[in-house]
């Protein structure tokens, strides 16, 4: 690990000034410190942002919610407003990592966590995301748990966040500040397509500090759920996960949200699946058709075709459960 300076910021502007070249913002450190140990990250300075006044969940003027960037994952999941209006978000956060890590990790940091592709964290392996131009070891090597959607010949890594999958389903907006002023990016545009620049992951301007994530009231649906399948029952990254929300009325799907985790370089909002449901009859057939549509664009690698089946089954199962609950 390279030597670095450490600074605690008490005001956002102070953080932004210190956050220039070679610096990284330190939240819970659960991913950043780990990557520094692996030599993937080597910042010259850490700017500790946990003491900024960006903590907590509050009601937004539009009736939605605003989650401060330094709110810990644990606090976000336990927040009554999140649990009441966006239960799938609470479930997604609770499905991630462990109790200890959720107590440390922050909402802002969670959005920026890096892939757990083993070739990315092994500094001696080729990896276009870590060392652009060095190649992708996963596409020809071990990729049992890699992407089936939206990958490119340069990188097939998946985004590891559970929380971001639920945020994608709920039309979240990421708020940030730079020295030039504040800005916001819808989550759907926050993560960049892989293309030939897998090292560029988000649309955040250089030096920007995430200050909050907001969830619009329009995303509040009567029922939502997050379900995660992984290689052990807990404390493992997703093989495939689904965040879904439904509004069923008079035997029709009035509205629906579907987002997938573990299948792409970003949380994958499956709008094609939602379109199949919206205003259609609330039937199992329609749900199956939606699941097919959600995965229609999937292109598995040599050894991960099962993920397409798994994702399709999982979308079907979660939507079926939600629809049955709505009928009861």
């Amino acid at each position: 690990m390279r030597e670095f300076a450490y600074q605690r910021a008490r005001r956002v502007r102070e953080a932004l000034v210190a956050g220039g070249d070679g610096a990284r913002y330190l939240g819970g450190g659960t991913n950043l410190v780990d990557l520094m140990k692996n030599g993937v990250e080597a910042p010259a300075r850490l700017v500790d942002v946990r003491f900024l006044p960006l903590d907590g969940v509050r009601d937004a003027p539009d009736g939605g919610l605003v989650i401060g960037a330094t709110t810990t994952n644990a606090d976000a999941a336990a927040d009554p407003g999140v649990r009441r209006r966006f239960p799938a978000l609470s479930q997604a956060v609770l499905a991630g990592a462990s109790g200890q890590l959720r107590n440390m990790a922050t909402v802002g940091g969670n959005l920026l966590q890096r892939t757990r592709c083993a070739y990315f964290t092994d500094s001696s392996a080729p990896c276009n995301k870590r060392a652009p131009g060095s190649g992708c070891a996963a596409i020809v090597g071990e990729h049992h748990n890699h992407a089936v959607l939206g990958w490119s010949g340069h990188c097939a890594a998946t985004h590891p966040s559970d929380m971001a999958v639920a945020l994608a389903a709920f039309d979240a907006v990421v708020h940030y500040e730079t020295l030039d002023g504040a800005g916001e990016i819808p989550l759907s545009e926050f993560y960049l397509p892989v293309g030939d620049t897998p090292q560029r992951e988000t649309a955040l301007p250089p030096g920007a500090l995430i200050t909050a994530v907001s969830l619009p009231k329009s995303a509040v649906l009567p029922r939502s759920r997050y379900r995660k399948v992984r290689e052990r029952a807990s404390y493992a990254f997703a093989t495939v996960s689904v965040a879904a929300a439904l509004d069923v009325h008079n035997g029709l799907f009035r509205d629906a949200r579907i987002a997938l985790g573990g299948v792409a370089s970003r949380p994958w909002r499956a709008r094609a699946g939602e379109d199949v449901l919206r205003d259609g009859p609330a039937t199992v057939e329609r749900i199956r058709a939606a699941a097919d549509a959600a995965l229609a664009a999937a292109e598995p690698l040599r050894d991960n075709g099962y993920k397409v089946t798994l994702a399709r089954n999982l979308v079907t199962a979660v939507l079926t459960d939600l629809a049955e609950e709505a009928r009861r």
Partner: protein
């Protein structure tokens, strides 16, 4: 003192058989117990290992000068300046090239230590190790295992050599039902929670080390040979160990390199492996493919078992993964043939992991027996009961004491086996399928030479010294009970000392033979002490070595036995398998401490569950290197994977061995994977012949 005779009759006396919490319990729940890396040490320097990143080749250059000026760096050891080692040194299977670290520029496998950087602090050592420029001349490597590999050859026959009883082909031809299948288990890692650590220093002519190993006396001997020292010059201690499971049975790289560094630098050096180094540089169970052909008559009597395990090893060292042990033990069959085969590859030498041979071997055998029961339309429990042998199926020797039937019947009763509908895929709970399965198991038992000494102190207490190691078994607590009964005193009068090579020859904590070997030595020392006159004025010491006594033990088939029952739920839409119930009934001889023995067996079964569902060492097909050398990639069972596992004992006793104990360490691990795989078949109708039973292997469209 009167001569004690009750033990000979096998009846319980005072302390043995009583559940007692561990002696070191308070130290372990308050953080006071010191493990190898916890020992405070003055003037300590820290070593950080640099591992090869290529799978085969030669070191072109190591630019030590590039890091010698970094803050705190004291030195860099590599093949150009490291002390020379004795190539004769080895472990149980002869000379072990895995010990010959930093001796030349050859890279035999990825993860081979190529240098040790020593610095004042661990952070400085790590920074310099990561900055050390190492270049290689890479050569083509072969890490691609297959049973039909052109380099395949018969395994060493030290034990588990090939056997032929009867004519397998004739008997198979005459069978009403035959199963002929291949079973595959991946590389598996012991994954003890404590990474290997050693601290070494010289005191005059004497080499001292605090290490993490399962047998301080054994490892001290290997180390003495390796560094061409007299045995008396080496002292190794390992007071508390954070698990071993086989991976600490050897003289590990942490110890070899710490000794080299302290020898060159003249101050104490600590070398602690990182978790990925534990995966890369300490021994794993090899990848194994097993072909099993098994046939029976319509009456369910076995006619033939043909078992051909093929496993990977390294040209650096011989190794035997004794997969056919159960094949030669569990069932009567007219013909039995085994052909253990090895494939040398460019990998770290594999070595014993908990339930060596028997755990993967039983997965193959007990899966095949279950398949045979299905073909025959016979209850899998009944099929096993019908093939109970009267003598060793291969050796012809009588069993010392065989209580597999007791385990099967008691387990079946408790588990509710009689109500089982044996047809697969008949039970649904909502979207889940459920099923049950069982496996019969055995693990060889016995004792190896050990010594112990007991001193009758003048205050009425007894100091018991034995070179045992406690890797989590509760050895101190168990041996205290054995000593108390042998001396006919309360346990409060026994002071036990273990985990020090100066305490005399002793078998390591391994092979399910630790407690048996040690308790024998203690019992014998106690007997000799009682033959001496007590002296109130001075301590009296008696010492015993069991080498000769062991030779007098009659030849018998000696095994612990068990039956494992599992119930699983399967979600066919996701492939998720959950173990809902797990029961093991064990015949492990006399139980010294039911509390800790039960823990050990339950823990073994959880290891088996983990093997069945989670564990898989994965290599990159191009580089040959481990891909998942951490706990986020190599999954071991977590709390949420584990139900309230039940282990219990059937009355048992091992004749001829003092205290009547068999081993408990390995057998818990054995059989569980097969029981779970059989339960998954019962739930889904699909056989799982490859471990782990991953999502993608169960998932249905």
């Amino acid at each position: 003192m009167t001569r004690q005779t009750v033990l000979e009759s096998g009846l319980p006396t005072g302390a043995v058989g009583v559940a007692r919490p561990r002696l070191e319990g308070r130290a372990k729940v308050t953080g006071a117990a010191r493990y190898a890396a916890d020992e405070p040490m003055r003037d300590l320097a820290h070593g950080w290992i640099v591992l090869s990143t290529v799978s085969r080749g030669r070191i072109r250059d190591i630019d030590a000068a590039a890091v010698l000026g970094m803050p705190g760096v004291l030195g860099v050891l590599d093949h150009r300046n490291a002390p020379r080692l004795n190539p004769e040194a080895g472990h149980f299977f002869g000379p072990d090239g895995g010990l010959q670290l930093l001796q030349n520029d050859v890279i035999p496998h990825a993860g081979r230590p190529v240098a040790l950087v020593v610095a004042e602090t661990p952070e400085q050592a790590r920074a310099a190790a990561e900055a050390l420029p190492v270049t290689y001349d890479e050569q083509p490597h072969d890490t691609d295992f297959s049973a039909g590999h052109p380099a395949a050859r018969p395994a060493m026959a030290l034990f588990d050599g090939p056997v032929d009883v009867g004519d397998v082909d004739v008997e198979l031809a005459a069978s009403a039902a035959v199963v002929d299948q291949r079973y595959r288990t991946p590389e598996e890692h012991c994954s003890a929670m404590e990474p290997h650590s050693a601290t070494a220093w010289w005191e005059g002519e004497r080499l001292q080390a605090v290490d993490t190993n399962q047998g301080p006396f054994f490892v001290a001997g290997v180390l003495a040979t390796l560094f061409s020292l007299k045995f008396e010059q080496v002292r190794i201690r390992c007071e508390h160990l954070g698990g071993g499971f086989g991976s600490k049975g050897l003289c590990g790289p942490q110890l070899v390199l710490a000794v080299m560094a302290t020898t060159l630098l003249g101050r104490p050096v600590r070398v602690t492996l990182t978790r990925d180094q534990v995966f890369l540089a300490t021994a794993m169970r090899p990848v194994i493919e097993q072909r099993v052909r098994i046939g029976a008559g319509a009456d369910g009597r076995l006619r033939a078992i043909h078992h051909e395990p093929t496993f990977a090893l390294s040209p650096l060292a011989e190794y035997i993964e004794g997969c056919t042990e159960l094949t030669k033990t569990l069932y009567a069959a007219r013909a039995i043939r085994t052909r253990p085969t090895v494939v040398p590859l460019d990998i770290l030498p594999p070595y014993s992991m908990r339930g060596p041979g028997a755990a993967p071997g039983s997965f193959a055998l007990e899966s095949a027996v279950d398949e045979l029961a299905e073909r025959l339309g016979i209850d899998p429990l009944e099929l096993r009961l019908r093939n109970e042998p009267t003598a060793g199926p291969v050796s012809g020797l009588p069993f010392s004491n065989r209580n597999l039937v007791g385990c099967l019947r008691a387990g079946a009763r408790r588990f509710g086996w009689a109500a089982r509908d044996h047809r697969p895929r008949m039970r649904r709970e909502g979207h889940l399928l459920t099923g049950t399965g069982l496996a019969a198991t055995s693990f060889s038992t016995g004792a190896f030479p050990s010594s112990a000494s007991i001193t009758a102190e003048t205050d009425g207490t007894f100091t018991v010294c034995i070179g045992a190691a406690d890797i989590g078994t509760g050895a101190r607590t168990a041996l205290t009970a054995v000593a108390a009964d042998a001396l006919e005193v309360g346990t409060d009068r026994i002071m036990i000392r273990i985990a020090d090579s100066d305490l005399g020859p002793a078998w390591p904590a391994g092979g399910s033979r630790g407690t048996t070997s040690w308790s024998w030595a203690i019992t014998e020392a106690a007997s000799r002490l009682r033959d001496q006159l007590p002296d109130p004025a001075r301590p009296v010491t008696a010492t015993a070595d069991t080498t000769q006594l062991l030779g007098e033990l009659p030849s018998r088939e000696r095994h612990a036995f068990s039956a494992v029952f599992a119930e699983v739920t399967v979600d066919p839409a996701t492939g998720e398998v959950r173990v809902r119930r797990l029961l093991g009934m064990f015949a492990i001889g006399r139980v010294i401490n039911p509390l800790t023995a039960r823990s050990q067996l339950v823990g073994g079964m959880i290891g088996g569950l983990s093997m069945a569902l989670h564990e898989e060492g994965i290599r990159d097909r191009n580089s040959g290197r481990h891909v998942n050398a951490d706990f986020a990639g190599y999954h071991i069972a977590a709390h949420a994977d584990v139900p309230d596992v039940e282990a219990d004992f059937v009355p048992d006793h091992e004749p001829g061995i003092p205290v009547g104990v068999k081993g408990a360490g390995e057998i818990g691990n054995v059989g569980t994977a097969a029981a779970i795989a059989n339960a998954v078949w019962h739930a889904t109708g699909r056989r799982q012949r490859t471990l782990p039973i991953r999502l993608d292997r169960v998932l249905e469209d």
